[in-house]
């Protein structure tokens, strides 16, 4: 049995508009701090290695997901990675069309679990899985210790 009365004229319904205000600062964490400092200050990428099972992780993790033990070793990423998957984006977050399509991809690195999602600095017609790519970094003065210190990945 449902409500005994029900308004059927939708114009009688009221709405209350509002927004959820919130503002955030995210720390990189213990593993992330080292990863982003290396990126910002020395322009290179590194992951962590679990001394129990030998698995290597990118992005670097404080703990091995498999063994659930703290990782202590840091390992440089190989200079190139391989694109595992791509997508071409034509629409912004708010639904408005982009002036030029953006190419995004998941880049994997030999010997590492995981990968990095980032811009692929290729034209749409060249975007494909299997491409060998290397990171292109922003100039040293423009880096802040964030994933955007990487401009993108290029062949």
């Amino acid at each position: 049995m449902t409500f005994t009365e029900r308004t059927t004229d939708a114009r009688m319904f009221r709405h209350w508009p509002g927004d959820i205000e919130a503002d955030y600062i995210y720390t990189s964490g213990l593993a992330g701090e080292r990863f982003f400092r290396e990126l910002r200050d020395r322009g290179h990428l590194a992951g962590t290695r679990c001394s129990e099972c030998g698995k290597q992780w990118i992005p670097p993790k404080l703990f091995c997901e498999e063994c659930f033990k703290e990782t202590h070793e840091w390992v440089d990423l190989p200079r190139t990675g391989t694109v595992a998957a791509t997508c071409v984006v034509r629409v912004a977050l708010d639904g408005a069309p982009l002036r030029a399509p953006e190419v995004w991809g998941l880049v994997r690195f030999a010997g590492f679990q995981g990968g990095l999602v980032h811009r692929l600095l290729v034209t749409e017609d060249r975007a494909r899985a299997g491409l060998r790519v290397r990171p292109v970094l922003k100039p040293e003065g423009s880096r802040s210790g964030a994933i955007t210190d990487i401009e993108g990945f290029a062949p």
Partner: protein
């Protein structure tokens, strides 16, 4: 075992550390806009406020007059049966004298706010609202109060169509 633990995990940061760039951070401000549906009961509640009246719903099963109004009785768990007007007079059930505004900033003139139970509704059926025309020394639990309405042309269909509740004239203060 635990009594012998020497290093408890956690790396503390000070209040300036985030702003000063001592550690790497990312900022983000989500955009989340909403239009909450007032629904069946609250749409009528807001419309009545605009007309300068307070409305409740009756549950014939438990006999309660429910305020604010709702289309189902949460105790009997059945639809409520009809609309009932309640008066705009009532009693202060509890209150606070706030020196904080909504953003937790300190204010010098305190805000008097609390819960008013309304005459005509079942006991303790209340509404949170401001209190006015009384001092911080005068306000007390049990005080009889009455709504001060905004002029009809200023009402929009909101709980703020009532400016505040003030001591009821003629009633024992």
């Amino acid at each position: 075992m635990t009594a012998r633990v020497t290093r408890w995990p956690g790396v503390e940061l000070g209040s300036k550390d985030l702003e000063s760039g001592k550690v790497t951070t990312v900022r983000f401000r989500p955009e989340a806009k909403f239009a909450w549906s007032a629904g069946e009961a609250m749409s009528r509640f807001l419309a009545e406020l605009q007309r300068g009246r307070l409305i409740a719903r009756e549950c014939k099963s438990c006999g309660r007059i429910l305020f604010p109004p709702r289309m189902f009785c949460e105790e009997c768990f059945r639809p409520t049966d009809g609309w009932v007007y309640v008066r705009d007079t009532g009693t202060i059930e509890t209150y606070s004298i706030s020196y904080l505004d909504t953003d937790a900033r300190r204010i010098t003139e305190p805000i008097l706010v609390g819960v008013v139970s309304l005459d005509g509704a079942s006991p303790k059926m209340g509404l949170m609202h401001y209190f006015g025309e009384m001092t911080t020394k005068e306000i007390r639990i049990g005080m009889k109060v009455q709504a001060k309405w905004r002029p009809p042309e200023s009402r929009v269909g909101s709980v703020l169509d009532i400016e505040f509740f003030r001591p009821r004239k003629g009633a024992e203060r």
